[in-house]
Symmetry: C2
Subunit: 604 residues, 2 copies
């Protein structure tokens, strides 16, 4: 699935710094678990996407699944060879954005970034929708609540990722192996049996609404291309491998290619032989599983393992997108917000952004995989093409040994992925691909506008220039107070430490209260001037702002010190501070004074 770990290369740096070396790095087999779950899990919706399109021309056309899959596997072969070269040239990983930034200039890097963001979001949505469908195949009661299942899974993933649970390749090993075994088992057992062991789901009445023309075949091909998403993830994560990392990564890429190709071809054969058509309440994969295993425990176990692997595939987006967004933020192309990590090493804003966008998408399509597939893969193929073109440029510029042969391979890859991408876009345009065509340019525009702002702000802030030395001035600290109290004593203590001059200011609406305050002040005699400001309209904030504005701009540094009562129990927070926070907000918006919040903690 799409670019799952594109930017994860950033993470392993921390252990390295602590000198823990290679034992935290991946072997070839572990790499398969950590970096190709999203690609392998595509078999859960790729073949289905082909069948759903072909069935429009009647059940007789299902035989076309096999030749279409053969073409897709050819494309897969070219991509795998191409990415083995990408691994050799970019051993630091980095994904399409990094490659494009380095070799193809800013504009194409923005295109790559936009395509990546769209894909990360789609990966989450498609994986969860397919996972929910797989779960519902085993437990039919869930089939009317697919959206709810998706949103529950999404909430779970988001929570886990906000807490920052670091996933480990070893934890992923078991589900990966189980998944590969059960998928290959479906193919082998299915071929060994002469007819399906069991048939699940309710029969659809098939009305042939279209004939099997070239357009329908192209459509089925482009839908099936969704099975190729994620092939690039290993190339993006090369730094995660043990030395010799290039060799190991290439070996993993080849393993992925062989496994995925075998699964796709085997399933296509079974679909053709057993005339597997879409049936109500179950997925095509569930039908194949029932055909191979019957409906015993193996069937349920397969459904559960497929759901788990799809959820884990969605999880790789949570590893990838927040990191990509933080890189974009560091490049001034997204709000710096997305580069913020509070105390946990998690880019929370990125995680939340991904969760919100995926949830919106899932709700919009009602968690139906078939409605997401047309949006999917356009962005992935954009990334494929950019990577290959970048590589061709690299070969031509550097001209190492055998550069021409390599350039031809990557060039062929680029041409094939471009053609496939165009087929995808044209055949799926009206079904949803237009949305990607709208979203990608909008994202690119956003990046550009954000960058333009930061460049201008940087100039205004004088970043990178040595400024004149700071000026020494006198200071006035204004303390808004309502009454004589322990709080007032604490506030004046802080103000006297900070200011050359201190004045207490009280806004009073009623003359009697003002008089009483004046008397109490004189009895207290704190050595600080008290000014009482009249407020005929009972507003507290407006007269204070006017007072502060009068004092600023006289050459002195003016600070307003606002005492802030903080109850120990959070449930009382609503009962305190509201006036101080309101005053602080208005002062910050309307005056040039420094606004100081002084905490006063209660035992309550």
């Amino acid at each position: 699935m799409a670019f799952g770990l594109a930017h994860r290369k950033e993470r392993p740096r921390v252990p390295l710094r602590h000198g823990e070396g290679d034992k935290h790095r991946l072997t070839s087999l572990e790499g398969l678990a950590a970096l190709s779950l999203d690609a392998l899990s595509s078999v859960a919706y790729g073949p289905e996407a082909i069948v759903v399109v072909l069935i429009a021309a009647g059940t007789g056309t299902l035989a076309a699944t096999l030749p279409i899959t053969v073409v897709i596997v050819v494309l897969l072969t070219v991509l795998v060879i191409s990415y083995c070269q990408v691994i050799a040239v970019h051993p630091d990983g980095g994904g399409a954005y990094a490659v494009a930034k380095k070799s193809l200039g800013p504009r194409l890097s923005l295109l790559a970034a936009a395509a990546l963001i769209v894909d990360y979001v789609l990966t989450v949505a498609v994986s969860l929708a397919a996972g929910a469908a797989s779960l519902a195949s085993a437990f039919p009661a869930l089939s009317t609540h697919l959206l709810a299942v998706c949103l529950v899974l999404l909430t779970l993933l988001t929570t886990v990722n906000l807490w920052g649970v670091a996933e480990s390749a070893r934890v992923l090993m078991l589900p990966t192996v189980l998944f590969i075994v059960s998928m290959l088992g479906i193919v082998v057992m299915g071929i060994l049996r002469s007819h399906p062991a069991a048939v699940v789901g309710t029969a659809h009445s098939v009305r042939a609404t279209e004939s099997l023309g070239i357009l329908l075949i192209l459509k089925a091909f482009s839908s099936g291309c969704s099975a190729l998403t994620g092939v690039e993830a290993i190339a993006n994560g090369v730094p995660m491998f043990r030395e010799p990392r290039v060799k190991r990564a290439q070996r993993t890429e080849l393993m992925l290619g062989v496994l995925l190709g075998a699964m796709l071809l085997g399933m296509a054969y079974l679909i053709r032989r057993d005339q597997v058509a879409p049936r109500g309440g179950v997925t095509v994969l569930a039908q194949l599983a029932a055909g191979a295993y019957g409906t015993g425990w193996e069937y349920y176990a397969t459904s559960l393992i497929v759901t788990l692997v799809l959820a884990l595939a969605a999880n790789t987006s949570f590893g990838g997108l927040p990191v990509l967004m933080s890189v974009l933020a560091r490049d001034n192309r997204l709000p710096h917000l997305f580069g913020l990590r509070a105390e946990r090493p998690v880019y929370r804003y990125g995680v939340v952004a991904l969760a919100v966008l995926s949830a919106l998408l899932l709700v919009a399509v009602g968690a139906e995989t078939h409605r997401l597939i047309p949006l999917f893969a356009v962005g992935v193929f954009t990334g494929f093409t950019i990577s290959q073109v970048g590589l061709v440029r690299h070969w031509v510029t550097e001209q190492p040994e055998g550069w021409l042969r390599r350039a031809v391979i990557n060039g062929l890859g680029a041409v094939l992925t471009t053609v496939a991408g165009l087929v995808l876009l044209t055949t799926k345009f009206l079904e949803g691909a237009w949305l990607v065509m709208v979203a990608v340019p909008l994202l690119m525009l956003l990046f550009t506008r954000v960058q333009r702002y930061y460049t201008a702000a940087c100039e205004e802030l004088g970043l990178g220039r040595i400024p004149p030395p700071p000026v020494h001035t006198m200071s006035l600290v204004i303390v808004p107070l309502g009454e004589v109290s322990g709080l007032a004593q604490r506030a004046l203590t802080a103000a006297l430490a900070l200011g050359d001059e201190v004045v207490a200011v009280s806004v009073q609406a009623e003359p009697e209260k003002a008089l009483a305050l004046r008397e109490a002040w004189e009895r207290w005699n704190p050595g600080v001037r008290l000014e009482i400001v009249d407020s005929p309209h009972r507003s507290l904030v407006h007269p204070m702002v006017a007072y502060v504005r009068r004092e600023t701009g006289t050459g002195r540094e003016v600070a307003v010190l606002i005492p802030e009562v903080e109850p120990r129990h959070r449930r009382y927070a609503l009962l305190q501070n509201q006036r101080g926070l309101l005053l602080a907000a208005v002062l910050q918006a309307r005056t040039d004074a420094v606004v100081c919040m002084m905490p006063y903690r209660l035992r309550l």
Copy 2:
């Protein structure tokens, strides 16, 4: 309707202070417009509430509407006489809460306040639901969207009240006069005609499910009592009248009594004579209007004017509840939040609270008036009783001329409203009145808990005691900085003015960047020490908090000065400041340092 202007007495003080005198005060007739719209508009749902209950025993029982209405009008008479006395004794107005606080002690005042809050919310819900039903009578297309109509009206009222449009009695005069004319017109025209001019709505098939027993009559009576809500509003608003204000207010109260009584009796007569039963899609009032006017323009005009008057009646709650909540906040019985007015003279939090609560209620009952009526009026009658009992206590304590006669009248009133209240409560308990019985004690508990907190906080803050004089200490100002820039220069200037000692602190994750900063600092040489804090885990906030914690508690006043970049355009706000705000929030929560935000405004 309920206590519409209970606390509006606070508003007219401002004009007085400016010496504009009596021309902003109300004449008797204007008082009718300003203070009794909610009472008069009750005729839109009071008679209907009786009919809806009686129809359960078949159409033959509709004749009982007249005697039940006669009893309600007797109760009205007693209330009007009672309230004329309340006006004389409490010329400063004030509502049940003020009366109870003065004469009956804190516990009953809390009961009065809780009952008032419940009623304000119900007034909004009932008025809007009845208004939407009236509108749908004229425009049947709306009848399937009653809830949506209510919520649109509510949004409109809330927006207007958040902006603080001060309603004027003169603006209300026209709809009031039109409403009275059209209601009296229905009665007079209806009586003059020998049979209805037109019949609107679709016939319901009536199945008699109950017999006309005493319980059904009591139920119909208690539902009809909803027509009496709002009778007390004039007494609450006495200070709004021109001198002689007691006389004028009493005259208005009498006018209200006569008009409301005449309308109720006339309508009850017509319901009996024409056998008006509930029909689909129209209100009882709409049927009466069609019977009197036919279905020409007068019918549509009446529907519109009824809707308008009901919306205006709902609006009186927006005048009353936020003010009551601000009074409760001033008495430490609600969060001080509700006493906050920013720059407009509007208690926004109270307005929002009222809108949210009414919206929830409308959604919960699906905007059906009949489901709100059982909740309504229990609280109103609690307020009636509390006011009367307070007055009896007043007469017995003060013993002015004729006190015994007066005490007897108010005592009779108290007994009658108590009996009516108990009837309401028992007959309507299962239909929803239990909700009021739950809500009122919960609100009283809330008031008590809030007050307990404020009392304890007041003690801890040393309010009302003269504290020791403030202490003179030295200060350290810490300036978190990332780089040498114009922003750093401005921040150090402010810090040097405020602190006896200033230190710039930079958290750096990468040694190369730290070195570069150190070099730039030495070239700049601002005369301030730079400390670089290492952050192996790339967190910015945690090392800074640790640094600040080390410095506090050494006897010096520690302040952290955080520069805050403020773009001129609000759309850029998301692009700046997030790191500073995050740091400020964590420092405020975790350290005892004074946190100072220094604004740095961009021209962007």
